[in-house]
Symmetry: C2
Subunit: 429 residues, 2 copies
């Protein structure tokens, strides 16, 4: 019976056929061990010379790392094995011999590995990271689906450059300038008026000439937008969302977290409620810690890390000065120079993973802010319509998938959290 | 208690508060009817003058289409109502009065509606179509998740133009030419060597100067790719996939199909197995029907429609001439001038919804095909590596989300199956 390695524990005592790649092998005169990968998992095949025909035994000799093979054998329980089983081989068939694989278990430089990204994907750590990414992606979709959100895919190709073109990728759209989207928010708000609770989750683009471990030119962002949701509810939604995703990874990615040597206990402590701190209190706390910051400064990576490390949990940073945030954020009624915005800062130096706000829903106030920010009014004509025809309080946030995955897996660099990273001067393969 | 309209049937006899938009109203001297939408559904509020304070009663007079309101009332069962309930209002509060809404229940031209797409989304048919789209998207993710596939988000920004630039959107990537992706397949194949069963599902781009109801410049495509899957298994996967999605829509989108006046019985007949016909037999059948086609022709919309209408079910069209298909398709061992490709043609004139194939996994044969197709070899260096280091038979397909949604909803034009369509000379809003 043809089987996948991930299912073998259901077939103990049965004879199965597996197809996959040779990860590594060792053999003595009478017994051989083959570590086989089929994409669903890894398993050890045990080959005893006495049980094998000559062609099969010879195959062990010939097989190289990453060669493809088909084997048949009996599944046996093996409590010491990570998979819980091993396969006692009766037949080994070579499908294709691989020449020397460029990536051996020895150390390689990152620029070499990035050039060979299409092959590096086969490494156990890379597979683990991408499985976590896949699980988190599905977790995000399920979270919103189960809560009655409608998926609204926002467009990638957008017309006017709403907030300056310096970090936008540009393309010709049948004679017009078009730009690759940096956020679906403006497109979600009209959809929230139609469907109440909506979200988008797709690639976004930022042509930023920065070469840090926290930036990618192309990354995936999830953005919910909820009609009649105000600031308090938004903070709760963000908190619930982070907790649900962390819990899901703990529940379903144990093997991957182990491969990545991620400390589970750090993640197990991530439960609601998260600590909350206003921007003003944060500035005071950072000053008390000796950092050189003043009220009105935009907090950078260093300040975010310092702040988050005070708590050991994600922190909700709220009530920012209006001047350092986007034009559409609702003013705090108690302090009109501040806005009802929230950033969620991850601990362990991962910084901002979520940014959101209640949106201005008063037509005239929004108009005033567009003008005050010197934005081209004609580009916001349709966006203003949301406030004209039956306006409503609403809120939303955005979360970068790669930043979340980096934090949850403990990976230091975003480039390992996405299959084919796009970085400064790096668009291959 | 604050409630959503979709949940009201669980609250019969209780007093709830709803927030939403006025769809329409009618009133006589002593009783008023308000149709309210909150994004989760529509419900009728019944207002009796005797039960309301003066401000609430006056509000009925003042409310216009698309004004926002907050109402409180008692939920009562009403078997005649589509939602199964109505709300006997005790209080009506105006949140914001809307000026005359541009889209009234009367007929509007499509170009006007497209200009007002951000408002048109509120119409019942548009909401229904986008809910089906959202359900199908989740259905696609669940289908692959449940079968152990790993999501591999393929990049949008890609370097070399593998197959000519005439239909590609182009952008500057820090001094290099880059192009918006038309398919993730080439990126999935190396990932299949790492993770076995993989898929991508994201936006794809085609700068085609065509203005038909079957084309969008930006659309979403799902593409599975499976290691060690051969042609027969591929056809079964495609069949199972289509059936699962149709069944899910029938199961979970009854109200939406009713709104769109879709004939359910057509969808209920979509069960496996689908009829299969080879390209050669199809040509003979079309000739017999009097169409002017010859072996070797690429079938167009007219031929696809004629072919699919013979069956009333999706048809698997297989074994195409190699010359009219992509370079990477595996030759049929019995007829090397034909390839192991499959198109799934939807009935009712919707044409191709799926295209797939077994991929060439022999390194030298693939190299020969790349040369024969005059493709730039250096662009396929890394792609050839998949065949070099442990090659394996594998197969995959692509399905355009919008074409599937158009077929399942019975919508004639793709533009209504995506929130913000991008068409020839049309990139607003």
């Amino acid at each position: 019976m043809r089987a996948y390695i991930s299912e073998l524990s259901k077939h103990i005592g049965e004879t199965v056929t597996l197809e996959g790649w040779l990860v590594k092998k060792r053999s003595s005169g009478k017994i051989g061990f083959l570590q086989i990968r089929d994409g669903s998992g890894d398993v050890q095949g045990v080959a005893s010379r006495a049980d094998l025909d000559e062609v099969s035994w010879q195959a062990i000799e010939e097989l190289t790392q990453e060669s493809t093979l088909r084997v048949s054998g009996v599944v046996q329980e093996d409590k010491r094995a990570p998979s819980g089983v091993e396969v006692h081989l009766g037949k080994i068939e070579i499908l294709a011999i691989s020449p020397e694989f460029p990536i051996s278990p020895k150390e390689h430089g990152v620029s070499f590995l990035m050039e060979k990204r299409h092959l590096w994907l086969r490494s156990s750590r890379q597979r683990a990271a991408l499985r976590v990414r896949s699980e988190v992606s599905q977790g995000i979709r399920d979270f919103f689906y189960e809560r009655g959100f409608t998926l609204i895919d926002s467009p990638i190709l957008t017309p006017a450059a709403c907030e300056g073109t310096s970090t936008l990728f540009e393309t010709d759209y049948f004679g017009e300038q078009a730009y690759l989207s940096q956020s679906g928010q403006l497109y979600l708000e009209p959809a929230a008026a139609a469907l109440g609770k909506v979200y988008c989750f797709g690639p976004t683009f930022r042509a930023e000439k920065s070469k840090t471990r926290r930036h990618l030119m192309e990354f995936w962002m999830v953005e919910p937008e909820v009609a009649f949701l105000e600031f308090g509810g938004l903070c709760e939604l963000a908190e619930e969302f982070v907790c649900a995703l962390v819990a899901r990874v703990l529940d379903r990615c144990s093997a991957e977290l182990a491969t990545l040597e991620r400390d589970r206990s750090v993640l197990e402590s991530i439960t609601a409620p998260f600590p909350r701190i206003t921007y003003s209190d944060a500035i005071d706390a950072l000053k008390a810690d000796g950092l050189d910051v003043s009220w009105g400064d935009d907090l950078g990576a260093e300040e975010e890390t310092a702040l988050a490390s005070r708590f050991g949990k994600p922190v909700l940073l709220t009530h920012f000065p209006a001047a350092i945030k986007a034009f559409y954020m609702e003013p705090d009624p108690d302090n009109p120079d501040q806005v009802l915005g929230v950033d969620v800062l991850a601990p362990e130096g991962y910084g901002e993973i979520i940014g959101g706000s209640q949106r201005i829903h008063d037509h005239d106030l929004l108009l005033e802010r567009i003008r005050a920010h010197d934005l081209p009014l004609e580009a916001f004509d349709w966006y203003l319509d949301v406030r004209k025809f039956g306006t409503f309080p609403h809120s939303g946030f955005g979360m970068g998938l790669e930043r979340f995955v980096a934090w949850v897996t403990g990976l230091k660099h975003l480039r390992e959290t996405i299959p084919y990273p796009r970085m400064l001067n790096k668009i291959y393969p």
